[in-house]
Amino acid sequence: MRSNDGALKEERLAFPFLVPALVVLCGISLYPLIQGITRMFYTYRALAQQTVFVGFQNVELLFQDPLFLRAFSNTLVWTITSVGMQFVLSYWLATMLNSRFLRFRRMFRGIALVPWALPPVVVSLMWRYIFLNGGPLNTILHSLGMAHPPNWLTDPHLALWTCIITNIWMGIPFVTVMILAGLQTINKDIVDAAAIDGASYIQTQVNIIVPSIKKVVLIILTLETIWTFNMFDIVFILTKGGPGNASLTLPLYAYENAFMYYQAGYGAAIGLLILLCLLVVVVFYIREVLR
């Protein structure tokens, strides 16, 4: 009891020292958020040449805007597919890198990190070059006998998937390293015991490995979902949301409205909706972690 009292007293003493840091943190995090929310209630009227208060009109307009609905559905496809594929491929890669039978493990682990070390802009420009109509990928496909290789960036059915492929390639290293770190915490005796008991590879993965790294998986999925949902660079550089808005995503649409169409309020409304969507993910994550 006495020790608890002591801790409480210490915390009270520490609080005033934390105030400056908390003020700075609030300033940096909360001020832009409040600004964004406030801006959502205003819009610029070109004929009147003034910014006017419109209440929730920007939010109402979102649901009448076919482009917003398209961007929203594209963002869901983009996020779910990217995160899902990143996880599956990274899990497979991490398992291989964790194998004691693999030679040059350290070298492969180093190489696997390379794409993560590249800035998204560089990655996007690199893949844009690869995917160009006359680029290396189509040249290879053509030389392999494909008379009409796909137009990766200008086919409305392919543009979004081209962006997804790029994002998967860029995200795999981080997810792999995280899973690998989780795998290395598993007591090998348990895995060996399961093997002696006759558990198959699948049974070992499902019943032992995955439950053992559940928290790591949750962290990865949460972070990747947030990052991918918010990802702007790849789509902006590869397709700019085109052709025909086929690969338009919410962050890009918010940016276009705020910085190209002089519709900062509308852009802020889209930003708030992104925040709400991601809050659902974060709440789910916190609930699972605290369970």
Partner: protein, 424 residues
């Protein structure tokens, strides 16, 4: 001791005050010039100004055209914008409407006003006549053509280089070559969407895509003349297949290489590209320029550029002095010539260097009377075009939608957008 302290204090205050008084006014000038000769010309003019005006020093802030709008808009919103900026005329007007660009009427002399055509002034002015940009440069949109490929196809172009819509179509068909597998080896024409040849055609046909009603509101209302013009453009890709889908996603250097190697027999671009063709082909390519004339009138895109002043600049008067110097007859001619463009001042245009045969200045010059800003003078034009109109035309070009459906969707979505912009 007291006297010494007082004397020292007086000295410090005097030096401080003198320093303040003597400190020159510093102006920041955002400049998107990128061609080597233009950069050199801009640097020279600014250096001359700085030497002649020690009390008003100008510092150049170089920016690329591709991120200029973003840079300026965020700078304006953050209250940290440059004093002077070089932009498309239409953007000066838009920044004026948004309250970021200063009205310049008080800084312009009658001589300056009468030296530049009224249509150019209109591009930087609002309905009330407030001017938000000092015009500097203009161009003519031309069609570059490979003379050898034309000769091989047996095409003889008119002496004045002006061809009709049907001749353009006919040339493109004759020039498009395919190999034994049906693969195109030479495309007749490449007219990138963003270069707005199709907007010229709409204007030549007296067509309207955007209409301003009597109450001042703007509406997407595509008339038949405009539909006919747009169809004639998209048919080159979808029906004739003489223009590639690359008009959506081309790379400038690849385009030039393609012209050099014969992949494209004709391409549409601003007349300043002459410098790049000369540089890239080193005089080894036999090339020329064409202009498309319409049945009803002939129009080419002038795409004018201007200088604007930030409304919250603490040194607007000094900035205006610099703008007057930078855009005077002598300097506007120097910049225009270095950039392979034309000055907007009539007094500068009359100079002989803009009418020489070398670099085919005379050919591009002869079409200046047809040059006009083909973009409707609507606030938010680029936003509307980028968000709701071009994406629909892209689908047509890609063969994913027919023109009627695309234009119908463009009308619905465009009007929704204009309403959101407060233009309806």
């Amino acid at each position: 001791m007291k006297r010494l302290i007082v004397l020292l204090a007086l000295l410090i205050v005097t030096f401080w005050a003198f320093g303040l008084i003597a400190a020159p006014t510093k102006l920041t000038f955002v400049c998107p010039a990128w061609q080597a000769d233009t950069v050199k010309a801009v640097k020279a003019i600014v250096a001359e100004w700085n030497e002649a005006n020690p009390d008003i020093q100008v510092e150049i802030n170089w920016q690329g055209w591709e991120n200029l709008d973003d840079y300026l808009l965020t700078s304006f919103q953050g209250g940290q914008a440059p004093d002077i900026f070089h932009e498309d005329s239409v953007m000066c007007y838009e920044y004026g409407m948004l309250g970021y660009a200063a009205p310049l009427n008080d800084y312009l002399s009658d001589d300056t006003l009468s030296d530049i055509s009224s249509s150019i002034w209109k591009g930087v002015s609002d309905d009330k006549g407030t001017i938000y940009g000092m015009p500097l440069l203009q161009e003519t949109l031309v069609i570059f053509y490979n003379k050898d490929l034309f000769a091989d196809a047996g095409i003889t172009v008119p002496a004045d280089g002006m061809i009709t819509w049907s001749e353009l179509r006919d040339y493109a068909q004759k020039l498009t070559k395919r190999d034994e597998n049906g693969e195109v080896t030479t495309w007749g024409l490449l007219a990138p969407f963003e270069q707005r040849l199709w907007w010229c055609l709409v204007n030549e046909n007296n067509g309207h895509v955007l209409q301003q009603y009597d109450d001042g509101t703007w509406h997407v209302d595509i008339d038949n003349n405009a539909r006919q013009a747009i169809k004639s453009f998209t048919d080159l890709v979808t029906v004739d297949k003489t223009m590639p889908q690359d008009i959506l996603s081309y790379d400038f250097m690849s385009l030039l290489q393609g012209f050099k190697t014969g992949k494209y027999a004709m391409f549409s671009y601003g007349c300043w590209v002459r410098s790049w063709i000369e540089r890239l082909t080193k005089g080894k390519l036999n090339w020329g320029m064409l202009q498309v004339k319409g049945d009803k009138k002939t129009v080419t895109e002038s795409d004018p550029q201007s200088l604007g002043i930030y409304i919250n600049s603490p040194h607007k008067e000094e900035a205006a002095q610099f703008v007057r110097f930078f855009t005077n007859t002598e300097n506007s001619a120097r910049i225009a010539h270095a950039d392979w463009l034309f000055p907007v001042r009539q007094s500068a245009l009359e100079r002989p260097e803009f009418q020489t045969e070398e670099g085919q200045w005379n050919v591009a010059y002869q079409w200046l009377p047809y040059a006009q800003d083909v973009k409707p003078h609507m606030f938010g034009f680029f936003s509307w075009e980028w968000q709701s109109f071009l994406p629909q035309l892209e689908l047509v070009v890609l063969g994913k939608e027919d023109l009627d459906t695309a234009l119908s969707d463009a009308t619905t979505q465009g009007n929704l957008f204009l309403k959101r912009m407060g233009l309806q």
